[in-house]
Symmetry: C2
């Protein structure tokens, strides 16, 4: 494998010649792949090519062992330059050239339009701009915690610098002195809409400097010598403040190397026609195998097998569940905090920690303070910067940590939905524990009442959604998600509550109870109908059940659906067997538990009457009990709904 040591003072002529030949082969791949696919981003790929090539030449990496733990990381934030990235990866032997050129942008192939990890050497699936620096910061943080000396490089576009999340990531990287993080900006002055200065004027270097980053300019981003010197400067820490990360801003030309493509915004997202590609290849002195390749692409049916990077989940000792006795009144948040502290005690005592915690200026409210005290080096305060923190927490989880990220639901889900979506696409191991959900947040009002988290998170295929009904179930769910791979959302309200009992008066979620995703809990059984609920409203459902039985002779089942996704369809259908189902929840009435139950009932064609109770408009600012009453979600409201259903003849017998 070709490699250039940063110990050298400068490049040799032989190295320059080799680099030029590599560049030519990569240019050929970029032109062929995009023209064959008929779509893709050739201009930006050519703009970045010298930078990416030089970077890989100086990288610590092993193409035959792409997941080697000590490798330097390269995050390509502007994922649309995939033709450049795949070309360079092919050049270094990560992936076969032919497969990439022939398969690019075909369904079933690894070579997607935006870079994806199923091509070896790609560290992170990107595509939506502005998230890459947070990803790199997360990886750099993870490497630092593991004591690794590997560096992290983030390649970004210049138009992309407009995204606000990047400003957040810059600050985090400075706060935690991530000096092994280096950002390389391809400054070609063009974005889809034209000149970056006319689309959105921005002083990129001044912004990085204001954030205390070390800034290094490369006057010609197509001159290998200049790029080499800049990388050398960063790696040898010859920068203003070696504690802080560095940015290399390289002046480049969109479409560099093909005269008629240079500096044309059009080639951001337009490919060359066959005759234009022929002219481009000719100008570069290259052969033109397009006609033959076109025939091969047409008949291609079996794709190169995708690469599956290991998705190791740190082995976590879940510890012994804690049981809160019937006389306890506390909030689920505190039970979460206590469980997390216990998990830290059990798992973070070794040489390197296994569990990390992130919050955004709400450490105390989300009860991460005990964990923080227990493991000061494992807790990260992200500031009021949820976008960066969400992405960064996800990326850190891919470096071998189980990562808990806690904040209010509005900030951890509603504000950063797309960041969580990209985490999910990247198969992270994020434990997103959100507190202060629903009307239960009360007086803080509509902007703070997260009643849409089920509606939002259920769009993320890889996320499970759990909402404990009391502190005991919280403890078990937290231990479960800590010790199981993948992305989990755990939700809870703000208020204190009692402990849910079984019919004998003992804690229902104590003793032998074990949390199993996709399994609902029959808190009570009754033949006249079933109340399906989750979270704090379960307590109201139980009170309603008591009153209906005692005063009206109506025996309702109460089914707790703490596992909202996956949902226990069998239990829902069993509930429907009573002929009458009510869902009661502290969520948007059309997107929460009731909607999920509806899909089960509709698909089964269940002969059952159903009533949904939930939140019907943006909430008021007031005490949670009053807000529940106004929405008919208190015990009295549920009783009233059942009695009305009986008088309407909806209840059997």
């Amino acid at each position: 494998m070709f490699s250039i040591s940063l110990q050298q003072r400068s490049l040799t002529d032989a190295q320059r010649e080799t680099l030029h030949q590599m560049w030519l082969r990569c240019m050929r791949r970029i032109i062929l792949s995009t023209t064959l696919a008929g779509s893709g981003h050739p201009g930006g790929s050519m703009s970045s090519l010298h930078l990416v090539l030089m970077l890989y030449c100086t990288l610590e990496h092993r193409p035959d062992d792409p997941c080697w733990p000590e490798r330097d990381r390269v995050v390509v934030s502007m994922g649309h330059i995939s033709p450049c990235v795949y070309s360079v990866l092919a050049e270094f032997g990560y992936t076969p050239e032919d497969n990439f050129i022939l398969e690019f942008r075909q369904a079933g192939s690894s070579y997607a339009g935006h870079v994806e990890c199923c091509v070896p050497g790609v560290e992170w699936n990107t595509g939506n701009l502005g998230q890459g620096l947070s990803v790199g910061a997360g990886m750099a943080l993870g490497l630092k915690l593991r004591g690794s000396r590997a560096s992290t490089f983030v390649l970004m576009g210049d138009g992309e610098q407009q995204k606000g999340q990047i400003a957040e990531a810059r600050r985090f990287a400075v706060k935690y002195e991530l000096n092994d993080l280096c950002c390389v900006i391809d400054r070609n002055h063009l974005q889809i809409g034209g000149d970056t200065d006319s689309v959105m004027p921005q002083e990129i270097e001044a912004e990085y400097a204001a954030s205390q980053w070390n800034t290094i300019r490369v006057g010609d981003g197509h001159n290998f010598d200049e790029i080499f010197q800049a990388l050398r400067q960063v790696r040898s820490s010859e920068v203003d403040d070696p504690r802080y990360p560095s940015v290399i801003i390289a002046e480049t030309v969109m479409g560099k190397g093909v005269s008629f493509m240079e500096n044309k915004a059009k080639y951001h997202g337009s490919t060359l026609k066959d005759d234009e590609a022929a002219a481009a290849l000719k100008e570069l002195g290259l052969d033109n195998p397009l006609p033959a390749l076109r025939g091969r692409r047409k008949t291609l049916r079996v794709f190169h097998a995708p690469f599956c990077p290991a998705l190791d989940h740190s082995k976590i000792e879940p510890g012994q569940p804690k049981t809160y006795a019937m006389d306890v009144t506390t909030d689920c948040r505190s039970a979460y905090g206590a469980a997390l502290e216990d998990l830290a005690r059990l798992n973070n005592a070794g040489e390197h920690p296994r569990i990390l915690g992130f919050s955004c200026d709400l450490e105390g409210s989300v009860k991460m303070d005990a964990f923080h005290r227990q493991n000061p080096g494992c807790f990260f305060e992200g500031g009021i910067q949820e976008h960066n923190t969400a992405t960064l927490a996800g990326a850190a989880s891919k470096e071998g940590f189980v990562v808990f990220f806690s904040t209010f639901g509005v900030f951890g889900v509603s504000e950063v939905y797309n960041q969580q979506r990209l985490n999910d696409i990247n198969h992270t191991h994020l434990k997103l524990v959100c507190t202060h959900l629903g009307l239960d947040v009360g007086e803080d009002g509509q902007t703070h009442q997260c009643i849409d988290y089920i509606g939002l998170v259920q769009n993320l295929y890889g996320f499970s959604i759990f909402m404990p009904a009391d502190p005991n179930q919280t403890d078990r769910i937290v231990r479960h998600v800590a010790s199981h791979p993948g992305n989990h959302f755990v939700g809870m309200g703000r208020s204190k509550m009692g402990i849910i009992s079984d019919e004998s008066g003992k804690p229902f979620f104590g003793g032998d109870y074990r949390f199993v995703p996709g399994k609902a809990d029959w808190l009570r059984r009754g033949g006249h109908g079933a109340i399906l609920s989750c979270g704090p409203v379960v307590h109201n459902a139980l009170r309603a059940r008591e009153e209906l039985a005692a005063r009206h002779g109506i025996e309702m089942s109460v089914l707790n659906l703490a596992s909202i996704k996956p949902l226990d369809a069998d239990a829902v259908l069993e509930a429907a067997g009573t002929g009458f189902v009510i869902t009661a929840e502290d969520h948007h009435i059309d997107t929460g538990l009731g909607a999920r139950v509806s899909t089960v009932l509709a698909e089964a064609g269940a002969a059952c009457r159903m009533i949904r109770l939930g939140v019907r408009s943006y909430g008021l600012s007031g005490h949670p009990e009053v807000l529940y009453r106004l929405e008919g979600l208190d015990a009295e409201g549920i009783v009233k709904t059942v009695l009305q259903a009986r008088s309407d003849g909806r209840i059997r017998g």
Copy 2:
């Protein structure tokens, strides 16, 4: 009303004394209201009080006519300092002092925990940090377009400066030279988590300077003279570059004025107990009416009537619908662009425009270019800054404009869901037209395939959701949303398509067809079952219907649900009357049309078999037709599903 002219060189002693008395009365209100409510944010309220008071003294405003069009705007970005804001508004006669003090944070009252527009004088409901500067920029832009000389002030916290959206808003304000915009930062160095420098170090002044803002420091933000001079400097344009906006950074003290509260982070969100409040009032030399007020608050049942600011929607001439003939093949995007151009021609020719357009570096892709050419001064390129643009577009719509914001679905919804949520809470008139939805975006892959927009937007109570089935329906829907108040989402894919015909072969959505929200279109009728669909998949449903009828003797209805929210429940139940319903859509299978139809069926207890077809995992990068085939959403897949249902005995007759 007390007012101080900025023509004065300095304050007079009499003014200083009046200001001090005003301050004392406001301090009293802050202490009483928060202590009575038992929750709220007294510390930050006291920190900002001198700033807010001085601002209102120098404002052009009319408390007895709070919506006076030429008033200066004040946006309070950190909405939690509501006690300060309500206190000052009471001081200036906007609202009765007693009502505020007694009702604060009670359900049903106007005086919510975070400021809301139902209190006269409040311009924008806030609460989630970081959006206020975008709001202010949107208002300043709207005022400028209307030729108003009014200024816009945005009050922000210092912790809040960490939010990335603020960096985006700064750039937009400079690009469009919004020099009547002034930001005032309460720099008290404390946020919930403690010292801002330890939570997230940030050089606030350097960041504003790097964005080319004029920066003015106030060394003591509790000294009325210093604040006055800073405001005077801004208003008289005695700044470095008068083309650009200015920021006043005022050094303040959390809890200022009560010795034991000063500089304590705790008082961000903790209120004083009765004895502490008594001590605070005593220290200030004020009376203590708490015991009497507590009694009155307890028995309070009827709240002060909320103020309802006029929500005028500009009168828009919708023009004549355009009918695309049966031989046309085009994309809905182009039909949108043509309709928008026509609307601009009809409505923007007067002295002031009525329709504005915003995009984020995708003007050409979303077909806003014709509108841009037609009305160069009405189109705003927001850069790759979707968060700022979404909020700003919403705020501009409250200044008397109908605002179209167009980008890809992933960027207009998934990335900025919470910004749209706050727009909705603020009753904006946003026409969010998103293109490139679904698998139909094809090769750009999973990060770009917006299959969750129904799942997301349906959480927003005020938004309708429309998805036209062809260019003719697009034209009518666009004209409808332009001429009707409120927030509308209109979605479309990327690909070209044919024109949908009626059974006689004429354009179904031509002639007399008029789009009515909540009314579905029976494209075809058949007794064996019904295919419910929307958007591009409708074309596949129609093809499947033809094949089933011609080759298998199965007569299926095809129901187009272009109005997804509100949904035509009657039509859905009529479809269910056939006994067999399939939903087919280019959306997440669990959160799209199928889920919405399920709630209708479940609630009605409809005796009907239902099958949902939709997207079951993050999509691949490939041609849309291939992706549809893989998900069984092409005509062949729908036929196969119906035939399977018949062989399972699910189809009657």
